[in-house]
Amino acid sequence: MITETKEYMSVNFLISQAKNIQIVIDENAAEIEALDQNIGDGDHIFNVQRGLKLVVELEDDIKNLPLQKGLNMIAMKVLSGIGGSSGALFGTFFMSMAKTPDLDKDIDFNKACEMVITGINAMKVRGKADVGEKTMMDVLIPVSEKLNELKSGNTEMKEGLSEIIKIAEDRMLGTKDMLATKGRASFLGERAKGHIDPGARSSQLIIDTICKSLINK
């Protein structure tokens, strides 16, 4: 199921990851939709699926482009094609990644980490959400912090990625007993408790898929 990848970050890497993620998200679509219907309005899964489809369909247009251009095209596609919170947040993610300096040089693992960290920071600013608010940021921010540690530390890469998989899963499960203070679930007060946040679940699946493909490479 997981496609072999040879790079840490490139247009082809992004497309092949999008294809892997699409399979995993489709497999878990019913679960994510049900989570959203418990505490939201059920649009999250359709937005994520629409976004992935749009990115995968971009393949022919962007496969020969330099990374920065490819990222910008993905960003615009995601931003204009999805809508809702997911469109704004993931669009912001790719747009900010594209602004990382020196993208025309070879991207090593540390550089790829830096790009993802930049992207997640921008999402945090756009959504004005931090950890503990029962959103996808509960998964993404701790992952970003761990990437920062890996970037400057001596941990072996595969070991680090395994730790990230674990962090994402723990944090996703941790949203279950949180009160929501951001997003549509925030309107529920106590009633949001007892349900995993659908955005946290979809983000965790995305991280899980990417990390596993890198570990198995």
């Binding site: 939709e33 359709f46 931003l79 809508g83 469109g87 997003g183 549509r184 309107f187």
Partner: protein
């Protein structure tokens, strides 16, 4: 799911097509990016008002484009916020140089996408955020209250001031005043079905209602057994009056809004109950609006909005308006 659909993916496009054809005397629909604008160009010096949000709330907002209300509306997918390129294209299309005021309902997705639209639009612009729903608590640390039916009132009243030559600052100030002086509470008897989902968003028992429901079928304050209309309306009004705290004999506008699946007959019954209850509390109703204006697809239910009115609000409420959904005085 029983709906008039040919193909789920074409749902929005075909509906917008029909809207454009049915109201070609007032508006025109542009695609990719999608927006609805007035048929006539914004006159020089008039501030342009642009709103938008997920589809499924019709006639909100496309039905409010026209003389005396909006200049453009940006429809997103059903219940999903529109995208920044829609706001940018709409703004470029309608701005006559006096600036653009974006009217945004307080939902995270709408806020983020409108912010990005405002950032990429190069012309002068500002935004107001409506948050009239008293069912949820407001706090500076949270998303806060939802923007719901009072958005209709904001668009009508600010639209009138913009038509009369009000500046961007004046329009924003009036919009914020209307928002601050209004409170809304909604109740649902049934769920609604998002076309892409194909099944109801939530389950409600035959004898149950969702008190404090939002406009996307997202759950509300609490689930209760259904009660006589007078009791439900009384509970809704209590929540609103607790929040608005109107003075005795204060003039108000009473707006009974249908969620899409409740007949007008019932909405007028709700209006009657609300009138009697407000009268007993010494609150004067000087203006009214009853009908389906801010809907949640086919959801059965209604919301009540009360707006405290001063002379400026009344004058701008009464002024002529000509849109697909609201027309008077011309």
């Amino acid at each position: 799911m029983k709906k008039f659909i040919n193909n789920v993916d074409d749902f929005l496009k075909e509906s917008l097509n029909g809207f454009g054809k049915a109201h070609s005397d007032i508006i025109k629909v542009s695609f990719e990016p999608n927006f609805i604008s007035r048929k006539t160009k914004t006159k020089q010096g008039k501030v342009s008002l642009i709103s938008g949000g997920g589809s499924g709330h019709e006639p909100m907002h496309g039905g409010f484009v026209g003389h005396g209300m909006l200049d453009a509306a940006c429809p997103g997918f059903v219940f999903s916020a529109p995208t920044p390129d829609q706001m940018q294209a709409a703004a470029e299309n309608v701005d006559s140089g006096a600036g653009v005021l974006f009217i945004v309902k307080n939902y995270s997705g709408d806020i983020m996408n409108f912010q990005m639209g405002a950032e990429i639009y190069s012309g002068k612009n500002d935004s107001i955020i409506t948050n009239d729903d008293v069912a949820v608590e407001d706090s500076t640390f949270t998303t806060g209250r939802r923007g719901v039916a009072a958005t209709v009132l904001v668009e009508k009243i600010v639209g009138s001031l913009a038509e009369d030559g009000g500046s961007l600052e004046e329009c924003k100030k009036l919009g914020e005043k209307v928002n601050k002086n209004s409170g809304t509470m909604g109740v649902a008897f049934t769920s609604c079905t998002v076309p892409a989902a194909g099944k109801p968003t939530f389950d409600l028992g035959n004898d149950e209602m969702e008190f404090g429901v939002g406009i996307h079928g997202e759950p509300g304050r609490k689930r209760e057994k259904i009660q006589p209309s007078r009791t439900i309306v009384n509970n809704m009004l209590e929540a609103i009056l607790d929040d608005l705290k109107p003075q005795k004999n204060e003039k108000t506008l009473l707006f009974v809004n249908g969620m899409g699946g409740t007949p007008l007959t019932e909405l007028y019954l709700v209006y009657d109950d609300a009138c009697e209850i407000l009268k007993s509390k010494g609150i004067e109703i000087t203006r009214s609006l009853v009908g389906n204006y801010c809907t949640s697809l086919e959801m059965q239910g209604a919301s009540i909005t009360l707006l405290k009115c001063d002379e400026e609000i009344l004058k701008n409420w009464d002024s002529p308006v000509h849109t697909a959904a609201i027309r008077w005085g011309m």
